[in-house]
């Protein structure tokens, strides 16, 4: 005989789980007893949201599903944000929540929440288990659903009675799980070869094509195939916010990030293209800008494992439902040595844009405040090439994505779809826990830092030595930027103060090594010092210039052709600029 609690932990071990992130409480208590003797490492977080983002960071960095485990009620509601974040960004994750006893469900019991109801639209799927004997099979199916097809979060809600050995309803005879019995779930992964041949012909004939590479390529472990495809046909690639690192930034065909804060060349390549080959990307509004004016001359080939993405935003001339890696491999064989249209003019046209509109910022004059872009460039150059970078959401996120050189896949972890402030620190902890030999830098803003900084206590206690580059400009910077540009500089509720809290003291109080940097001359030494510390987390607080704005920028409601470049480049725009 076994009981539901033991069976849960055994089921997780059978799925190969090495680490989980969680926080115990009443309803999940019985499950925490067998954790003491389990081979699975448990990381005790300080807030359940942290557990969820850590599981996401772990999953992003390792490719393995992240696991979070928390109790019922408020713990489950605290998990809603990471679940939705993982759903939007297709992160494989399994979340175990405690629930009140089955007989108490619906009675407003202590710490009761309708967890499966609340998370229905925030998960790929969820389960409420009513019978202890269903636990092994349910856990097996949860991992299957989370990791196959379009990956995503799956939640398993476990009433206390079925996991509590003191309750007879938790007892059952262990049965090994069998192949998942999910008659409604059969993700198509193999591409239709007729469509692949049509796509191959369309690609080969295109004069101004662009490969529009999205996060799906990373989920499909397709970075090698992307590179091979791009080189075979000599077509430039844009890598979206979720695909940074899918092709090395130093690759001559990589134009970098498109979209609202993309660089000029990447944005305009899509606007002027005659063919967009969307590979695991979803025509997100942050990429397309005003849809009516997006890539007006482009035909569309759209490859996605999720059929609901095909035609959702932009009609595809050829829509291919498939695993994007398999589809790219099929395209490579179908194209083979097919003659490619002459694209030298297209490539040199784009190189002209690259020369004319590089990413720029104005260096600080002596005695001036530190520029955040400068900090990121120095951090990039002072850290190992395979450093994993995580970020929160806002200006610092865009600067990090713009100014880092991502040379390897799975080195950039951020909250793309949901845009969750506070993502950076817990995601970095999850990534570092999964990849302990890599340097992990969490790039954060002061607004984000204050949302999840308490997880640095977790990092100190658990000896997960992440590094935090806190770009402290004393403001909710991105909101301030919008108020400056679109609300007549009327600043409403965006000032945070650079001095309150005292970030250095706070970091030290949480067991971190802390450094404060106020001038450009101190930057390199601080970064070197931080990269030397490996026995505890490090927080480097960079006091940055609050006047700095993120450029280029497509204003909300504008088309991508109305991209605003850095003010110093405006006079180079066709027609003298917008």
């Amino acid at each position: 005989m076994t009981n539901g609690g033991d069976a849960l932990i055994r089921s997780l071990e059978l799925e190969g789980v090495e680490i989980m992130f969680g926080l115990p409480g009443g309803a999940i208590l019985p499950v925490y007893d067998p954790i003491i003797t389990s081979s699975i490492r448990h990381v005790l977080v300080r807030h359940e949201q942290g557990a969820g983002h850590m599981a996401q960071g772990y999953a992003h960095a390792t490719g393995k599903p992240g696991v979070a485990i928390v109790t019922s009620g408020p713990a489950a509601t605290n998990m809603v944000t990471p679940l939705l974040d993982a759903y939007m960004d297709s992160v494989p994750m399994v979340c175990i929540t405690g629930q009140v006893a089955y007989s108490a469900i619906g009675t407003d019991a202590f710490q009761e929440a309708d967890t499966t109801g609340i998370t229905m639209s925030a998960t790929k799927h969820n389960f409420l288990v009513s019978d202890a004997a269903d636990i092994p099979q349910t856990i097996h199916e949860a991992f299957h659903i989370a990791t196959t097809g379009r990956p995503g979060p799956v939640l398993v809600d476990l009433p206390k009675n079925i996991v509590n050995p003191a309750d007879p309803s938790s007892h059952f005879e262990w049965v090994e799980p069998t192949a998942p019995d999910l008659p409604g779930y059969n993700p198509t992964v193999e591409p239709d070869l007729d469509l692949i041949r049509e796509a191959a012909a369309m690609i080969s004939a295109a004069k101004r094509p662009v490969l529009y590479a999205g996060g799906g390529i990373l989920k499909a472990r397709g970075a090698d195939a992307l590179r091979e495809l791009a080189e075979l046909v000599g077509i430039p690639v844009v890598t979206t916010l979720m695909a940074r690192g899918a092709l090395p930034d130093s690759h001559e065909l990589n134009l970098g990030m498109p979209g609202m804060h993309g660089n000029y060349t990447a944005v305009m390549s899509m606007q002027e293209a005659d063919l967009l080959v969307a590979l695991g990307s979803r025509f997100d509004d942050r990429v397309t800008g005003k849809l009516d004016g997006f890539a007006p001359d482009a035909k569309i080939i759209h490859v996605d494992i999720d059929p609901a993405e095909l035609g959702k935003v932009r009609r595809a001339d050829i829509g291919i439902q498939a695993d994007v890696r398999l589809a790219m491999e099929a395209l490579i064989s179908a194209i083979g040595s097919t003659n490619q249209a002459d694209r030298s003019a297209w490539r040199s046209h784009l190189s002209g844009y690259q020369e004319k509109f590089p990413l720029v910022y104005e260096d600080s004059a002596p005695g001036d405040a530190l520029k955040p872009q400068f900090v990121l460039e120095r951090l990039r150059d002072g850290s190992p090439e395979d450093t994993i970078v995580t970020s929160g959401v806002g200006q610092h996120q865009m600067w990090a994505s713009q100014h880092w050189n991502f040379e390897h896949p799975y080195t950039w972890i951020n909250s793309g779809g949901l845009g969750t402030m506070g993502f950076s620190i817990p995601a970095a902890i999850g990534a570092k826990a999964g990849m302990p030999d890599r340097t992990v830098w969490a790039v954060d803003g002061d607004g984000c830092f204050q949302m999840t900084a308490q997880e640095l206590v977790t990092a100190s206690m658990e000896r997960i030595p992440i590094k935090v580059a806190l770009l402290n400009n004393g403001y909710l910077g991105m909101v301030k930027q919008w108020q400056e540009m679109f609300y007549d500089e009327r600043y409403s509720e965006v000032y945070l103060s650079p001095d309150l809290p005292d970030y250095k003291m706070w970091a030290e109080a949480m067991g971190c090594h802390a450094i404060r940097v106020e001038s450009p001359e101190e930057v390199d030494a601080a970064i070197a010092e931080a990269n030397e510390v490996n026995d505890r987390p490090v927080v480097v607080e960079f006091r940055t210039d609050p006047r700095e704005k993120v450029f280029p920028m497509v204003a909300a409601g504008a088309t991508n052709s109305e991209l605003m470049v850095d003010p110093s480049q405006t006079d180079k725009l066709p027609g003298g600029g917008h």
Binding site: G117, M120, S121, K124, L128, P183, G184, Y185, D306, A308
Partner: protein, 162 residues
Amino acid sequence: MSDRFHTVVCKVENKAGVLARVAGLFARRGFNIESLAVAPTDDDAFSRITFVVDVESAPLEQVVKQLDKLINVVDIRQLDPTTAIQREFMMITVDVAPDDRQPVFDLAEEYVAEVLDTGANDMMISLSDTPARVDEFEERLRPFGISQIQRTGTVGMAKLQP
């Protein structure tokens, strides 16, 4: 029914919460479900949900794809009204005194409706027919005074091959 009404038939796993998942996808987009019918199939493991929604075709296409993504949805199809047979069942009570009932009996006969019960001052009638015919029957009974009405929601099947 206008062109905006579409009939969608889902075969789903017969499990708790499935109807909420399906209905939730409509609710999220603010689509109103016009009618809904749920019943088990010949196999206990599955149920069939038939719903009629009031929505333009393009957004419906997207919802149908999203519905198909639900793990518990096994099969989903839109019924093309030109190639489907659809039926709805209605029970209706009209206020009509015994002396005035002949026109109601005549109407029931015309629609092949069934008189289920008669009371001191009212009659209960049922009709199973296409939703349009059920609408029409209801309208023609209205002048007599309708006191209660219940309709089941549409169910349908594709026409057989000739």
